[in-house]
């Protein structure tokens, strides 16, 4: 019996450690710091892309890329969305009142601007340079608010750790541009994100997975990557509408 006790102890400890790692109780990877968009010739975060559902359509317009008018990256739009795009007037974008119209989290994460991340055990805050936007990710186990709660550009985000991956679920996103070519998402958009840092801590990868049955069929996704640059800061954006016409 004496010889079996240490083995039982080790097994029990291993179980506790496994459970702790699984639920993120042990030290989670650090996302802290200043992150600049990484313009990649070859995707270094392919492993994260491979974890997306096979049916998800990967939209290739991140960073400096953009889709042209009429190009929806292979997504099948609902008839109402096709009608909405048909009626969209691109010249309205140049009006002064629309110049500082910020996109939602469905589009602002992919913009070619840096961000700062502040990480706690129950909260993670993203300070985006683009349009001075801010995201709050709750890690304390709270649910999303009722459907009637206000929708905002950043939405309501709850997250948890799955091993080395931060999984974030976001709802309550106000309608906004989805592809910056007249195709907008609705307020029913559901966003699931997976963030992961490279082992050397220098690269942050993200996949965003979108479901919005009001405007397109199935699932869509984007992939993004950033480089860690210690000692740098985001600049104020201070959007000035006087650029508009």
């Amino acid at each position: 019996m004496q010889s079996r006790t240490p083995a039982r102890l080790v097994a029990a400890l291993a179980g506790v450690i496994f459970a702790a790692v699984s639920c993120g109780a042990l030290a989670a990877p650090s996302l802290e710091g200043f992150w600049a968009v990484k313009f990649e010739q070859k995707r270094t975060g392919q492993a994260l892309i491979d974890e997306l559902p096979k049916s998800a359509v990967l939209i290739n317009d991140t960073g400096a890329g953009e889709l042209a008018a009429g190009d929806f990256g292979g997504l099948k739009l609902k008839p109402a969305a096709i009608e909405q795009v048909r009626n969209y007037n691109y010249k309205d974008e140049l009006k002064r009142e629309n110049t500082c119209s910020a996109p939602s989290v469905a589009f602002f994460m992919q913009a070619p601007f840096p961000m700062e991340i502040y990480q706690g055990t129950e909260l993670i805050v993203f300070k985006m340079e683009y349009f001075d936007l801010v995201r709050v990710i709750f890690l304390d186990g709270r649910p999303h608010p009722p459907k009637s709660a206000p929708h905002t550009r950043s939405g309501h985000s709850v997250g948890h750790w799955e091993g080395d991956t931060l999984v974030v679920d976001t709802t309550h996103i106000s309608p906004g541009t989805f592809m910056n070519n007249g195709f907008n998402h609705s307020d029913a958009l559901h966003l699931v994100e997976r963030f992961r840092v490279s082992k050397d801590g220098n690269t942050l990868w993200l996949t965003q997975q979108y479901e919005d049955p009001q405007v397109f069929d199935g699932l869509a996704a984007r992939y993004m990557a950033w480089t860690h640059r210690p000692g740098e800061y985001v600049y104020p954006y201070d959007c000035d509408p006087s650029y508009g016409q």
């Binding site: 953009e66 889709l67 042209a68 008018a69 109402a80 969305a81 009608e83 909405q84 795009v85 009626n87 969209y88 007037n89 691109y90 309205d92 974008e93 140049l94 009006k95 629309n98 110049t99 500082c100 119209s101 910020a102 996109p103 589009f107 070619p112 601007f113 340079e129 309608p175 906004g176 541009t177 910056n180 070519n181 007249g182 907008n184 609705s186 307020d187 009001q214 405007v215 600049y235 954006y237 201070d238 959007c239 000035d240 006087s242 650029y243």
Partner: protein
Amino acid sequence: MNNVSRLVRGALLAALLAAGTAAAHHSFAVHFVGDKLIKVSGVVDEFSFHNPHGLLVLKVRKDGAEQVWRIETNSPNILRRRGWDETSIKHGDQVTVEGYPARDGSNSMRVYRVIYPDGHELVGQRPDPGVVSGED
């Protein structure tokens, strides 16, 4: 379909379309030709350096007549990290601007670079490899 469900569907569609008509911040790909560059030369009339875009108003003499070009830069935040600031371009500067022409044919473009007579230049949005430049 009965009248009530028709009404409900109609209201839902109207709500969706209303939500969808919100204008976004403008897209480069929709408004500018990304695989073509043009050049214009003239005198700077105005330069502002605020997000979302810097704006350069250039007076250009062409065929004996004056044209006014509205030329936008990419975000000043991006350019600030490349050394640009509010004083990089001044009223009265004689410059040549190379950039991406507007799709609607108007006298406007997005800056690739601003070239000064002494040869120094300010670089904005770099072209993809293989993009050919020409005069306007």
